[in-house]
């Protein structure tokens, strides 16, 4: 049986399989890697590391992109891509 564990992706809990990488996660979420930045436990990854960085139980992952913005307080601007 494949081992499962949980990570937090953009604040939401998600189940991952052993051996899963950041690239795998982006593919599952249907997110183009060229448009985003990924932070794992506050460490920003080079895009080149997406394919090799394995996920571990409890990892806190942030996937960010660009949205329309001039300047607005963050709490009024949660609605993304």
């Amino acid at each position: 049986m494949t081992q499962c564990f949980h990570v937090l992706v953009n604040g939401e809990s998600r189940e991952c399989k052993a051996g899963e990488t950041v690239s795998d996660l982006l593919r599952e979420l249907d997110i183009r890697p060229d448009r985003v930045a990924v932070e794992v436990n506050l460490e920003i990854l080079d895009k080149g590391a997406f394919g090799t960085r394995g996920l571990k139980d409890g990892d806190r992952i942030e996937i960010i992109s660009f949205i329309g913005g001039g300047s607005l307080p963050i709490n009024k601007y949660r609605d993304v891509t």
């Binding site: 992706v9 953009n10 604040g11 939401e12 979420l29 249907d30 997110i31 060229d34 448009r35 985003v36 930045a37 990924v38 932070e39 506050l42 920003i44 990854l45 080079d46 895009k47 942030e62 996937i63 960010i64 992109s65 660009f66 949205i67 329309g68 913005g69 001039g70 300047s71 607005l72 307080p73 963050i74 709490n75 601007y77 949660r78 609605d79 993304v80 891509t81």
Partner: protein, 257 residues
């Protein structure tokens, strides 16, 4: 106007009107307004990707990176740590080394925390960022930002989204005389005459979002702003006449009956 280029940190820009991409009805309207404005620099915010609803379109699908310089901002950041983190994420997303740095001091006014701004700018400049700081209309802070290596300064005209226009033209004038880098008047513009006035004062460019996106007809307002910025720039370069209290006749007296 064509040879009157704005150059910042070796990058050349055709338009002196820069625009934000927030508050539009949809991406189609955003795209049309930007096209009507003639801007070649557009600001974007850095936010979490919506992972639950992937059907939503991406802003970058509507902004050709070959046509526009994408300028990520750190809008919504209230601490040095947050602003630095957002700037690093923006660069990692692969757009460029440019960042419009905002460290906001207060939610009600959205005025910049200038002490935090200088601190964050120092960190990012050391990391190789081209930092364009959103700051107060304070000549001393503007000079400090230039001294630490900012290639341009972006003082506000009035609070973000307020539409109050240029509240302190004299301070802007002093900033323009104090620092010798491009000055981009950012935030507070309400209508075309505000943009023209900023340019007439000698500003190198104007950045706005709400004045266009919040207008009844954003696309028409974008066009109005384009003309206003061009007109203001030409008037500045042409050199206005001095103000006098009394009349000076334009028609000759000679030849009168």
């Amino acid at each position: 106007m064509n040879d009157d280029r704005l150059i910042i940190a070796g990058r050349e820009f055709k338009s002196r009107l820069w625009v934000g991409t927030g508050k539009y009805k949809d991406f189609v309207e955003t795209k049309k307004a930007i096209e009507a404005s003639g801007a070649d620099v557009v600001t974007v915010a850095v936010r979490r990707v919506n992972i639950t609803d992937r059907s939503k379109e991406n802003l970058l699908d509507y902004l050709d990176p070959k046509k526009y310089t994408i300028l990520p901002n750190t809008a919504g950041c209230y601490t040095v740590e947050d602003a630095v983190r957002y700037a690093r994420l923006a660069r990692a997303a692969g757009v460029s080394d440019l960042v419009k740095l905002e460290v906001i001091g207060d939610e009600r006014t959205l005025f910049p925390d200038t002490a935090g701004l200088i601190e964050a700018a120092k960190i990012l400049i050391k990391e190789g960022f081209v930092v364009l700081p959103y700051t107060n209309d304070d000549p001393i802070v503007a000079k400090k930002l230039v001294d630490i290596g900012c290639p341009a300064v972006m003082p506000l005209a009035a609070p973000i989204g307020s539409g109050l226009g240029i509240r302190n033209p004299y301070n802007l004038k002093i900033i323009l005389e104090t620092v010798k880098v491009p000055i981009i008047v950012d935030a507070g513009v309400g209508t075309a005459s505000d943009a023209a006035l900023a340019m007439e004062l000698g500003a190198d460019a104007v950045l706005m979002n709400t004045a266009i996106a919040g207008a009844k007809d954003p696309i028409m307002m974008a066009e109005a702003m384009r003309y206003a910025v061009d007109a203001g720039r030409l008037a500045f370069k042409a050199g206005r006449i001095p103000r006098k209290l009394y009349a000076t006749a334009s028609s000759p007296i000679e030849g009168m009956l």
